[in-house]
Subunit: 435 residues, 2 copies
């Protein structure tokens, strides 16, 4: 039985009831898919392990104390207050049963689906480097970002109480990975240390705090035009960030980062922004995966042999002209989500789905105040202040919710005019109530 | 050697160097004292166990998801960026050595002082009721407030996943203590459940969520005029809050609150706002304590027999005309802080200190949108919308920092116009980075 016949028979079986669409993951892709289905005659169930959507491009600003979690995150249930056909379920999908067409979440509940959209994204990958799991911090969730913020602030407090710790590198912040996340984090940390913590700790020798950015390739921002890489490198160096290009991390310990050229950088704060791997839900599906754990999908983003399962965003390895999968960035996820909603509509109406075509939206990374690099789809570039304003405006517009936008605007204006960072709180959110 | 002679000799010993003032606690009292010493020729060291000042009157808004921690808290070090004579030390004071004039913090460091100001405040008191420590949540810190927020949201998520739990009272929120904190929390929870969670959980029978406010006395807000108590009670009942007046809690378990009249209220969320006891630093001092653990002080707020140690705010049991100590509220702490700075200035100049005189600023509590009760110092009262606007304006003005005020204003406007609460995030801030 070929796939189109199977799909046809399947459509027949739905006559008389609304199809159930289960979407796993409320990131950029999952939310875009669900919203695009607002007028579709289906029941949408959004499943996510967290109760909030995370605007991942701004996580580094939580880590550098410029914003707090509720500026960058948005409650998923709030997204669907006005969308009658969508429900939300908190849970982590543990298994996918293609035969019975159900997914099982971590409390053991089996949830049936007619159409399944997998949008579970990616997690931090350590690439087998020893010590990363134990001693380095990732930056994929608000919890991650708050953990980094707390670690940095606690390190400076420790040095303030015992200045001898400065000799052990307690003020050093080492960031591994020179992509947009690493670059933005390094720039943000430099400003935090130089502009704010310098004033917070008048008794500390702040100039001994090193911010080191490590990248295995010979330039930062490898996916950008090389002149933008140069600009970012120049700017970061001017801000006091030490760049280590063309070297790899050999090991991370509790007290240092050891590079493969033998250098040892003493530090107690290591952020691992060197790469991601797909969420392990791909293994649960049992389909073919690429090297990064991504699920191989067809030109319509459905899983070969499983025409009622689609994969979008960071979790999908989608075919492109040059053989490389699409990049793991937000616009790919959003466009994939919108596409899959249309594909499901087509399936219900018995039409053939089109092929997914990604329209490149360009890419951007901010380095610091008045400085960002932007690469437009037509190959043109922006940097410096024009790039920065473009970056600011676009991120404000893309944030969900008027309240989040207004809060972020207030905080950015404050941070800009005063060189301050108001969110530098050390909080233990899960401590016992006796604290 | 009488006290004035001792003080005189002591002043002599300071000639030729700046006196060291150690302030323990960066609450309302400690901060007021430190700021009032800005122009004094002393070195001020502020010691606090947290790195931020907490605007405690708004903690209930974190717990009810209307504000996030960085709206309500302010980094202590930021307060002193422009105050050259003040430093900050993160730490918990464990011992006070009056002979050597040092305090010891939790990492073992001994810190010398010439003048010591104890402003360590109060913590939640369980009054020996079984189960409170294990199963009830306090509301004295941002961590406490975030724990309550998380507990409520997790309970609703649990019920959404398994509606049978509603029979076990998982949606019920029980608040013990009918003072301003309990009243504000009950009103805020009622709005959160009725306006926001009702829309978040369309599949749940929200009307089965009970919000119960328990008070041992026969009226709420016992320190207010009785007509204001009546108004608050009427309003809360109208908002769906169940009042249990004149009953005490016999025991708190993991599944219920048992009252001394035999009633059992099934719930997994219990907030204990029934009272506080002084920080145990009073024991470390070795002076005389009152029933609530507060340190008995003289009319100049110094400790009898220790003229170089002052106690202010919730930690002080200060003599008043009617024999009862001053109430444990913010204005007493602020005025005490300002007074003690002047007393230290007088001591340095060899002048006699005046007596502390508290000027009553009135009291207020908000119940919900457009509803608050206000008692002015002249005995006049406000309630309803005028009371609410007064409450809003005063709290905005009293918040530290323009950024915090602007953020709170944005969030309040948002919450007011949309009936939404944007901070309803379930976050585990201390989870390992692999999350």
């Amino acid at each position: 039985m070929d796939e189109s016949v199977a799909a046809g028979l399947f459509t027949m079986s739905l006559i008389g009831r609304r199809p159930k669409v289960v979407i796993v993951g409320a990131g950029f892709g999952g939310l875009a898919a669900a919203k695009e289905m607002a007028d579709l005659d289906v029941d949408v169930l959004m499943i996510d392990a967290r109760n909030h959507h995370t605007f991942q491009p701004l996580l580094y600003q939580i880590a550098t104390a410029g914003l707090d979690a509720d500026d960058v995150c948005y409650p998923i249930r709030g997204v669907f207050h006005r969308q009658g056909n969508a429900r939300v379920r908190l849970g982590r999908v543990k298994a996918i049963h293609k035969e019975t067409k159900t997914v099982t979440v971590d409390d053991g509940t089996a949830i049936p689906y007619d159409f399944l959209v997998l949008a579970a994204g990616a997690v931090t990958a350590d690439f087998g480097v020893p010590g990363v799991g134990e001693h380095a911090l990732g930056l994929k969730s608000a919890t991650d970002a708050l953990t980094i913020r707390t670690k940095v602030l606690e390190s400076f407090e420790a040095a303030d109480a015992d200045p001898a710790l400065v000799d052990d590198g307690v003020l050093n912040i080492v960031i591994v990975g020179g992509g947009p996340t690493g670059v933005e984090l390094a720039g943000g940390m430099s400003e935090l240390v130089d502009r704010v913590l310098r004033r917070d700790y008048p008794g500390l020798e702040i100039d001994r705090a090193r911010i080191v950015l490590i990248e295995g390739a010979d330039r930062l921002l490898g996916s950008f035009a090389s002149k933008l890489s140069k600009r970012a490198e120049k700017r970061l160096v001017k801000m006091g960030v030490e760049l280590k290009l063309g070297v790899a991390v050999a090991e991370v310990t509790a007290a240092s980062v050891r590079l493969d050229d033998g250098t040892d950088i003493p530090t107690s704060t290591v952020v691992w922004a060197a790469g991601v791997k797909a969420n392990e839900i791909g293994t649960a599906l049992g389909g073919e995966l690429d090297r990064g754990g991504r699920i191989l999908v067809g030109k319509d983003l459905s899983v070969p042999g499983n025409p009622d399962v689609w994969v979008i965003g960071d979790l999908a390895s989608s075919p492109t002209g040059d053989g490389r999968p699409l990049p793991q960035v937000a616009p790919v996820a959003v466009q994939g989500g919108e596409f899959v909603a249309k594909a499901i509509a087509a399936r219900i109406e018995g039409r053939e789905s089109e092929e997914f075509r990604y329209r490149d939206k360009g890419s951007m990374a901010t380095i610091g105040r008045n400085a960002a690099v932007v690469e437009l789809p037509n190959g043109r570039t922006l940097s410096g202040w024009p790039g920065w304003i473009t970056w600011l405006g676009l991120h404000l517009v893309l944030l969900i919710g008027f309240r989040n936008r207004a809060n972020v605007l207030v905080n950015w204006a404050w941070n800009y005019w005063t060189y301050d960072r108001g969110s530098r709180l050390i909080l233990a959110h899960t401590q016992p109530p006796t604290d």
